[in-house]
Subunit: 104 residues, 2 copies
DNA sequence: AATCTATACATCGTATTGCTATGTGTCAAG
DNA sequence: CTTGACACATAGCAATACGATGTATAGATT
């Protein structure tokens, strides 16, 4: 997968992952890898800045916790993030339809 | 349509447009707008640099001509560009499938 | 005991890329 | 003679994914 393909779509994927339940960064990466059947295997330098960006934007919120000696930052979708996810899903449909109309 | 959504996918769209027949920049923009039902309305600052980029990469080639006083640069898909288009189409399928598996 | 692997987070610097704004110039319509 | 469509070009900007690197704990392996 070329790096640029993901640009502009990562935020929606992260929000969608958090829509089911809150999760910490590492778990988000695992879920994304599983749900995408290995297609999305995010390096740390991609994931953590994206999470910080989403939190700055108010779409997710975080809380520190410690479990078995490991510190975790657990992220949850905010109400605003839920709305944003809806928009992203809608936008994706429009985008995918348009791309397929051209590529086909 | 958010600007970042297109990133990394524009090249494939341009290549696909040229797969039918050679065309000049302005015509490519028109075709893209029509085929995408208005979703892709490329500003010049997006289209022309992209064409130069594709030509530098050897995926398209160009020729100057003049028609009715207007100079045109007509672009054609190269053999290498044809192969690249195939790859992009394949990559798109993988990408779209993965995104839908996560967003759904 | 030492090393490796997985877990877990963080950030600096870089490359890529699409867009805005601006500039050049032709031609037809009003 | 001004507006709009046609036609191309580029400088500067903003956004973002990634590679590399660093910190730290826990369990398994050697």
């Amino acid at each position: 997968m070329r790096a640029e393909a993901l640009k502009g779509h990562l935020d929606g994927l992260i929000l969608a992952t958090l829509a089911n339940r809150p999760a910490h960064g590492y778990a988000i990466a695992q879920t994304l890898r599983e749900r995408s059947d290995g297609a999305f295997d995010l390096p740390e330098g991609t994931l953590y800045p994206a999470l910080h960006r989403l939190e700055r934007a108010g779409l997710i919120s975080s809380e520190w916790s410690t479990e078995a000696g490991r510190r975790r930052r657990t992220y949850s979708l905010t109400r605003s993030g839920g709305r944003a996810l809806g928009e992203r899903r809608h936008e994706w449909k429009l985008f995918a339809t348009a791309v397929e109309a051209v590529l086909a």
